[in-house]
Amino acid sequence: MIPFLLRRVGAGLVLITVVTAITFFLTYGANIPVARNILGPAASQEQIDILNGQLGLNRPILEQYFAWIAGVLQGDLGRSYYTSEPVVHALASRLPVTLSVVLLSAAITLTVSIWLGVVGAARGGVVDAILQGISTITFVFPAIILAIAMVYVFAISLKLVPAVGYTSFDHSPGQWFASVILPAIILSIGGIAALAAQIRGSLVDELSKDYVRTLRSRGVSERSILLKHALRNASGPGFTTFSLQFISLFGASLFIEKIFALPGYGTYGFNATMQFDLPAMLGVTLFGVGLVVVMNLVIDIASGWLNPKVRMS
């Protein structure tokens, strides 16, 4: 288990390095008129040159890259070009927003998918048809349209939840929940159908395996076979799908945060991109990949723990 985890951490570090390097060289290397954008149209060339010097943008790109790496190693992601707020602070203050939505969404996805998958595998027929229906609908209507519809119904018409904004958990748990539940549900919709289908499929696969027949031959109840044995063994592929979905949840939170005006890291990234705030863009990339790596690790540990072969090696 330990060597396995070390390998995964290693792969995670490689992923982080590769992705941030690609982003760095593509963005810093693109000759974006950063100083002009910061200073506005009235600035003179002289002022622009001075600012470029202050920002270090006139240095060779490799030198800038190594400076950035050195900063990262010291926990310094630089400061926003515009607000001069340290990027680390900015991201740290936005992370709870995104994590609230994403984790809640992940919990919803997991719970509902397992339930649907199990019922689908056990009953077939109607539940299968419902699952198919849901997955077709979520494929057919892009999340954006569903989001608009749900905001209209729950926030504008029924006024059950706020249409925009975020309330922190410390401030009021109730308002926190109200502010993130609708985004979380919308984020979940796409994933539920896919994950439920995956779990259902894996369960059906497991149920056709030899050991299930043997268990049946010993008179073990169908309930135990399904919920204890098959589900446990089907959880491997389920976790793989779930971990991939988790990654896409972070991507999708970008849309959701914008529609709900949530001050999460997606909104931060969007603004940074629109302003060409390079340190902030890099910070968002680093955090994004980092989160993915951490989450994958958590999922690896969870699925490894479920699989005795991995656990005991």
Partner: protein, 508 residues
Amino acid sequence: MQKILRKLAAVATVATTVLALASCSPGSQAGGEEPQNLTLHLAAASPPGNFTIGNWTGGDATLFLSVYDTVIHQTLDGKLEGGVAKKWEYSDDKKTLTLSIRDGMKFTDRTPVNAEAVVASLRAAMAGASTKANLTSIASVEATDSSTVKVSLSRPDASLVPVLASVAGAVGAPAVLTAESSKLEPVGSGAYVLDKAKTTAGSVYTLTKNPDYWDAGAYPYGTVETKIIADATAVQNAMLSGQLDATSVSSAEEAKQYPESQFSSGPTPPAAVGGLFIVDRAGSVVPALADVRVRKAINLAIDRESIQKKLIGAERGATNQMVSPSGETFDKDLLSAYPFDVDKAKSLMAEAGYANGFAVTMPSTPISLRFESVLSQQLGAIGIKVKWESVPFQDFYAKVLGRSYGMFFMFNGLSGSDALDLNNNLTGVFNPFNATTPELDALRAAADAAPDAKQVSAFKAINKYLVEQAFYAPIIAGEGVYVVKKGIEFTPPVARGQNVLPFKPVSK
């Protein structure tokens, strides 16, 4: 994107992207509560840059001008009155401006607001990237005593006093003026203080009332919270769900989205003039534009009335002048200068040797978007083939200043001062080729030096010259429409996005 929108079109009547919104916080309806406890919720489409004097680049300066007081104040109806300087006086040659600083004011760090502070602030603004261009006429600033500032000018400048009522006239505590901390922790003497604890840069900015402000009575709200909401759909959702109570929309038709039982709405004065800036008047990129007949033909080819009625859905607003239709410089008689006349336009083109027209590339921006096809059609009718080049928003300044385009479509905000507006349209991004004529220079110099009584006619002469020489092809100075939640009284200001003065709780 937002930066450019802010700068150029924050107050544009047609740009739906940039809005100043306001609301009462839930539960703080203007019922029995004391006004001091009321919260005004403002929202903006994009986060402000930083609060350092001389570096503010937003068009909507509400946050900035709530934290910093300005040397001069502009009232809601556009009049100039005393601010940090309780009065000001020009010398006879108009080359010395004397400011008398109000007594007893303090910055929020308890240091006094005195002549030295004003001098330091103006010097910072003179060097600042965003304000420098508006203060070029100042030769030097000195404090003659603790309550008097003498501003010496290199030339008379009629736009200076209005400029001092804008971000360029902001006064900050000398100790933190341009220090790193000023970016997010400004220290001013304005009506509000930026509450750092309740502010998250880029998402929420909370202002709390500065009780020591000399004109505190004019500001009824105890707290002003500005949310950053980038998405227009989200703004609409927030309004309709009751989280926000005010927005501005582009037409009365659009305001019908908001039920009358919950919202009230009304027109706002023109806040920007939109049109074609024919900047390459020397003909270096598009030679044809050097010919005044071609520029006139462009003006004749545009069906302004139709654009105003159909595209904007406004009652009025078509214009062929860059100054505000409600200002003194605006000339009604000039409106007939360019009637919609394709035949005449074609013959002018032929006269200029462009009977077969010519091709021109213009930048496509979110602001130009809805005008593009109309302009292509109408200019196409006289043989001008427009190619719209999609410009990443961030590259717009650099591209225009880099002289990439002979002309472009844009809105330029109206400040409430015709002198300032005319000046703005002839500088920076609106005059990237620095194209001028001796006649124009003479007219401008005369206007700046003109005694107060003759200023209006002097600026009218500039305006007339610009129209006759077809420096621009202005199209629309349409009114906007505000929508506020019941319970708030909104007085439409001449210059939008300067402060929260227009908002008052409805008194019972």
